[in-house]
């Protein structure tokens, strides 16, 4: 007799679990060594508390009621609960705070989509270090952690969550017309994006910029391909690049000016982590300078999260291809 588990969840048996545990320990060791202390937050929180962090968390789909009729949600990421934790326990502490976590997160998925409803995230949050310096520290740590996990070909796609909005300002696209453009970009539908931009009847340079920017990705030379109208965001990206280059990580970086992350709280640098062995991002993160303020503790912050099971897949694939290379 089969006793089903909900779609998007699964059991883990000892052979796989042993590897997942070993991987988590290796990642954790890298985080601890860099001064990031591990924290634990509840898997369920009050919905109205988490909503302070993100008014419409896109995938926070699992809700329940407690015995007093309060709405509880299963956390859909670790960052908002940690912002709450910082406000609750470290209020008024000005020194930089370095925290890490290993925890399951939950989201709603469509039946048959093959996506995980429950997934294990390991990551770091750096609170109180603003700008490129903080961004670079977190990205370098993610790169190191993956190297420690045995990955050799991982790359980081680097962008800015506000870049396209800044560009919409600079090209003076009317407020009411922006949403359809951002939605097309969001759905990665560059055909619809171009059609909607064309419908605006903009001057040629503005049109070109809006169409081209989401397709710009590659080395530092891509930054030279757009003009000064989005200057500050680009200066920051350039600085992150320089700082990471000093740490010898330049060849891991891909500028990706069209990058968008699904969570709504990012205010600056965003990034995603890839490995050629795996067809989906292994993790990502970014800067969220506005989030802690929503919990009454305005401080700059940024973080990175890795999907441990996806990193494990990349690890297996690296092992396999390394074996082939040797043979």
């Amino acid at each position: 007799m089969i006793h089903p588990v909900p779609p998007g969840t699964r059991d883990v048996l000892p052979d796989e679990m042993r590897e997942l545990r070993a991987l988590s320990l290796r990642l954790h060791a890298v985080f601890e060594r860099a001064g990031y202390g591990e924290v634990w937050t509840p898997a369920i929180e009050y919905e109205d508390v988490l909503r302070r962090g993100d008014e419409s968390p896109p995938e926070a789909g699992l809700r329940l009621f407690d015995d007093r009729g309060q709405v509880l949600v299963m956390r859909s990421d670790a960052t908002i609960p940690i912002a709450r934790l910082v406000a609750d326990h470290y209020g008024g502490v000005p020194a930089p705070l370095r925290l890490c976590y290993f925890a399951h997160a939950y989201r709603s998925v469509e039946r048959g989509s093959g996506r995980a409803r429950e997934f294990l995230q390991g990551g770091v949050e750096l609170i109180g270090v603003p700008g490129a310096k903080g961004d670079a520290e977190v990205i370098a740590l993610a790169i190191d952690a993956l190297g420690e996990a045995g990955l050799r070909r991982h790359r980081v796609g680097l962008g800015d969550g506000m870049l396209y909005r800044t560009l919409l300002d600079a090209t003076e696209v009317p407020e009411a017309q922006r949403r359809p453009l951002l939605e097309a970009l969001w759905r990665r539908d560059l055909v619809a994006l171009e059609a909607r931009i064309d419908a605006l009847g903009l001057a040629r340079p503005a049109r070109e910029l809006l169409v081209t920017l989401p397709t710009l990705r590659g080395g530092p030379d891509v930054l030279a391909r757009i003009n000064a109208s989005v200057g500050a965001a680009l200066d920051n990206l350039r600085e992150v690049y320089e700082l990471l280059a000093e740490r010898g990580a330049a060849d891991r970086l891909i500028f990706d000016l069209g990058l968008l992350r699904e969570l709504g709280y990012y205010t600056g640098t965003i990034f995603e982590v890839y490995d050629p062995a795996v067809a989906f991002a292994l993790g990502g993160g970014g800067r969220y300078d506005g989030l802690l303020g929503r919990f009454g503790e305005p401080r700059p912050a940024c973080g990175a999260g890795l999907d441990v099971q996806r990193v494990h897949l990349a690890q297996l694939e690296e092992e396999r291809t390394a074996g082939e290379g040797a043979a």
Partner: protein
């Protein structure tokens, strides 16, 4: 290494011939693909031939870096994590609501039963279209010969793809509403889009010239 440094999933079916003509222009040798109906993987050419509705799956999962399929397929599978890069402007079709020519099949059932029965291979597109236009619809999913549904009384109307309208006509159906114009599209895996940026941009530039 394949011709363009990428693997492309292309659709067997109505778009097949047009797609092969197009990728000839990418320097991919298609004579072997044209000659062999049963073989599905052409490693040397970097081509997979799959069902049109499976193209997004192969691309999303990374079995192919790029894919070509109809916009109808992409509309139905809207939450796939893929890039839609280019309108290839061939394989033009219309996604439509059609019903029998001899009655008022949308008005009458809606007024008296409160709901219209719609047969389709595109349940999601159909449901969204009727919801967006404020009508309640009961969607009946069928796998083929959708035109049969109104004729046999299985449904009041259909949502389907039509190129010439000939099949509709032969079954006594007429187009009532246009939902979307559909053409072939180039799609990409999001990770390949970053890690093989140069190769993919090369293909996109060539296809922009060719289309």
């Amino acid at each position: 290494m394949t011709a363009n440094g990428v693997v492309i999933a292309i659709p067997r079916g109505n778009l097949f011939a047009g797609t092969l003509d197009l990728i000839d222009g990418l320097g991919i040798r298609t004579d072997g693909i044209r000659a062999n109906e049963r073989k599905l993987v052409f490693e040397e050419e970097g081509v997979l031939t799959v069902r049109p509705s499976d193209v997004p799956t192969y691309v999303e999962q990374g079995a192919a870096d790029l894919g070509i399929t109809g916009k109808d397929v992409l509309l139905e599978q809207r939450d796939r994590e893929i890039y839609e890069l280019l309108d290839l402007a061939y394989g033009h079709c219309r996604m439509i609501v059609a019903a029998r020519a001899d009655a008022d099949p949308l008005g009458e059932p809606l007024r008296r039963r409160g709901v219209v029965r719609v047969a389709t291979k595109y349940p999601r597109v159909a449901a969204e279209h009727f919801a967006a236009t404020g009508r309640q619809a009961e969607i009946v999913e069928v796998k083929g010969s959708v035109e049969l549904a109104p004729v046999t009384g299985l449904a009041d109307a259909i949502v389907d793809l039509t190129a010439t309208g000939r099949t509709l006509e032969e079954n006594g159906l007429v187009e009532r509403e246009l939902i979307a114009e559909c053409t072939a599209r180039l799609i990409a895996n999001p990770v390949a889009h970053k890690l093989k940026a140069m190769e993919i941009d090369g293909v996109v530039a060539r296809l922009r010239e060719l289309k």
